[in-house]
């Protein structure tokens, strides 16, 4: 009896629903093509069409942390930034890992912010990544790629925010890679001093313990991507200089060579695992990649 009633009930609904063809009216979704300015067009040609990436440079409160005080980037700064990001980050990875590799792993949405992103304690957030899909980059209004008339010292100062922001890109991209295929577990056993109080360690102090930066002491994942990003942005000579520059003193203020060797050895061991992982899993030779990026950075700095 229940089954019959249920059947009757369902058929009644079906017929009453289909009794009349309603006019649904105009769609609520605006599917018209927005007007594209020169920046929008450039983004389409260089990011959206080749990599399926949406770049948002206009102010959109819904994409941001509303508790933060931020400003959008200047329109004139957008293309130079994205152009250099392509040169320093995307193109080298395309050359190293292939276009399909980059198409697959590049974050599909990039949010550009002009101002610094301050935390309550006065520290600055350089970039934020959300699940490998969206990345927010800050400080665009403080990055200048025009070195015309600058002295070498001024060029060096102008390069600092450039290196910082693109190191952030390599850092976040590293997260996407290791979250897709994990790096060998042996990496996590090399150092044991991971701590949530990483901010109490300077880069110099961290290196004495076998970490490349203070932030890499947070956990093995941050350690791995810090290693990758510092390695790629330092150039071969710069990278070796960082490791050779680790000095540890004994109680008599003499070099403690044994301790230095342990610290350097840990970083070199991590470098080897990182290089093998990138080559075997992603077919990316990080030494070639480092070399290419170094050449691009040198070229940017020598541009007049």
């Amino acid at each position: 009896m229940k089954k019959i009633l249920f059947l009757f009930f369902s058929v009644s609904i079906l017929f009453s629903s289909c009794a009349k063809e309603d006019d649904l009216g105009k769609s609520l979704i605006d599917t018209s093509t927005p007007e594209l300015n020169d920046v929008d067009q450039w983004i389409r040609e260089n990011y959206t069409y080749p990599f399926n990436v949406e770049v948002k440079y206009r102010w959109d409160n819904s994409e941001l942390d509303n508790s933060k005080i931020l400003t959008p980037p200047a329109k004139d700064d957008v293309i130079p930034f994205l152009d250099n990001m392509k040169k320093i980050w995307i193109d080298p990875y395309v050359n190293a890992g292939g276009i399909d590799f980059m198409k697959r792993f590049i974050p599909k949405q990039m949010i550009l912010i002009g101002s610094h992103n301050y935390n309550d304690n006065g520290s600055i957030v350089l970039g934020q990544a959300e699940g490998g899909r969206k990345i927010s980059l800050f400080d665009l209004n403080y990055i200048n790629f025009d070195f015309t008339g600058m002295s070498d010292w001024e060029k060096g100062k102008a390069m600092e925010p450039i290196l910082r922001v693109f190191k952030t890109m390599h850092h976040e991209f590293g997260h996407i890679l290791h979250q897709t295929v994990a790096y060998p577990i042996e990496y996590k056993k090399i150092c044991t001093e991971y701590t949530s109080n990483w901010m109490n360690y300077s880069d110099s102090d961290a290196r004495k313990l076998g970490f490349i930066t203070g932030y890499s002491m947070l956990n093995p994942d941050e350690d791995f991507v810090e290693m990758l990003s510092v390695f790629l942005m330092s150039g071969n000579a710069g990278w070796n200089e960082i490791i050779d520059g680790i000095h540890i003193y004994d109680e008599n203020w003499d070099y403690d060579k044994a301790a230095q060797d342990v610290a350097k050895g840990k970083i070199r061991e991590k470098e080897k695992i990182m290089a093998d992982y990138m080559l075997q899993v992603w077919n990316v030779n990080i030494y070639d990649l480092q070399n290419e990026i170094e050449g691009i950075l040198t070229g940017i700095q020598s541009e007049e």
Binding site: S17, A19, P73
Partner: protein
């Protein structure tokens, strides 16, 4: 049986309800059509003015005054702009969209974004302005648009500009400079006092250019009052953010009269003016302890009234006068020095004691001179010879006058402060100090 009845009732209700198509909207258009219309209407209003709009935007009226913007919205989605601070035309992208209301959004960085830039104003927090503004209403004649910040809901009023507005905007900065007492050429007494017919009190005003805000002090019915008043400038003078009301008489707008070097009240039916006077109408409690107390050090004055600068200039024949620096702690562990620093960075050091006379008056007692380790002022007799000249004696007499110096704060903040030190001997002699102030 009961269940069967329930099913049948439900079926009947469903059948009857499903066929009921008689709902009539209160509106002719659907909600999304009305939203779209509201957006179009807002954009049309913004782009309707041939010369754009003028707005005195107060990014944070609790703490800051106004920056005046001239904004010209184009159909293409760009807004060209200029502001009153200095002449620097700028352009940005803007959009009008429906979020929870029709919103004007300043999309890309421009002068307007400086109102939300965390680098400008309070560190990490900026001026407290916003980039999104809801449309509230339009005046009947369409010459005024009333907008409100999306979050704080502080108003932004756009007034239709005319062909002259762009050139008139360039008049604003001179009034700001006037109130800030920068590059003063005319010798006037320090106190900038407002007298109004019908008021019993005079109101003293000190203006902070950094925050575009006035610090008002007056005595109302025997009670000393202090008030922060945000200010906006006009091509004629300046305006308070809201009226100041005493004895039921409200004043808000002032126009500069160059012939009298004063700002006349322009509010209808009110007569009065801001004039430079030698009378301090209201004193401030705690200034000596705060600004000459144990938490103060390294005070430096770089802005001087023309009369005081002329007094210091020419004392030292080798170089012109540059600035004054001192340790303002009244009970210092070592002799305080009041140093006249010259353009060659040699300093003539007068050792002094700071003595608290009243809550806001400090007296500077002369105790001697301190020689330098190098340069011309290693020689005490050379210092004494300079101070024995007519100019030297006048400087010493002024600095160490028994009447002391009145401390008039410009702004007080956590880690540094600025204030004026006004000679009670001669109120045409004053200097502006910035000092490091240790709150901890």
């Amino acid at each position: 049986m009961k269940k069967i009845n329930l099913y049948i009732t439900s079926l009947l209700l469903l059948a009857l309800g499903a066929c009921n198509n008689d709902f009539e909207s209160e509106f002719d258009l659907s909600p999304d059509e009305r939203a779209n219309e509201a957006v179009q209407e807002f954009k049309k209003a913004l782009t309707s003015s041939e010369y754009g709009w003028l707005t005195h935007y107060y990014p944070n009226p609790d703490k800051l005054g106004s920056v005046t913007y001239m904004l010209k919205f184009e159909e293409t989605g760009t807004v060209s702009m200029n502001w009153d601070l200095y002449d620097y035309p700028d352009e940005a992208e803007y959009s009008v969209k429906m979020i929870d209301q029709p919103l004007l959004v300043f999309d890309t960085y421009s002068k307007f974004s400086k109102m939300t830039d965390p680098e400008i104003g309070e560190p990490g927090k900026g001026y407290g302005g916003e980039l999104e503004f809801g449309f509230v209403r339009k005046s009947v004649d369409g010459d005024t648009l009333y907008l409100a910040e999306r979050v704080d809901e502080d108003p932004m009023v756009l007034v239709k500009a005319t062909a002259e507005t762009a050139s008139l905007l360039r008049e604003y900065a001179k009034h700001s400079e006037h109130l800030e007492r920068l590059n003063e050429k005319v010798v006037v007494p320090f106190y900038f006092n407002l007298s109004v017919e019908g008021w019993d009190a005079k109101v003293n005003m000190v203006y902070s250019g950094d925050k575009m805000i006035a610090f008002l002090s007056y005595v109302d019915v025997g009670v000393t009052m202090h008030e922060l008043m945000p200010v906006n400038f006009t091509h004629e003078g300046f305006e308070f953010h809201h009226p100041l009301v005493l004895n039921g008489i409200a004043v808000r707008s002032f126009k500069y009269d160059a012939s009298k070097n004063q700002f006349d009240v322009t509010d209808a039916g009110v007569s009065g003016a801001f004039k430079y006077e030698d009378v301090c109408p209201a004193h401030l409690e705690g200034m000596t302890d705060k600004l000459y107390g144990p938490k103060t050090f390294d005070a430096q004055a770089e802005v001087f009234s023309p009369k005081l600068f002329n007094l210091f200039e020419g004392l030292y024949p080798e170089a012109g006068f540059n600035y004054v620096t001192t340790d303002p702690y009244v009970v210092s562990w070592k002799p305080c020095t009041f140093q006249l620093v010259f353009k060659d960075y040699n300093a003539l050091k007068i050792t002094v004691d700071y003595v608290k006379l009243t809550e806001d008056v400090v007296k500077i007692d002369f105790t001697g001179y301190e020689t330098e380790y190098s340069g011309p002022f290693v020689d005490l007799s050379y210092i004494e010879s300079l101070m024995a000249t007519e100019k030297g004696m006048a400087i010493k007499a002024l600095i160490t006058s028994d009447k002391g110096w009145t401390i008039v704060p410009i702004e007080l903040k956590k880690y540094s402060s600025s204030y004026c030190l006004v000679s009670n001997e001669d109120p045409e002699m004053y200097m502006t100090f910035g000092l490091t102030y240790d709150e901890d």
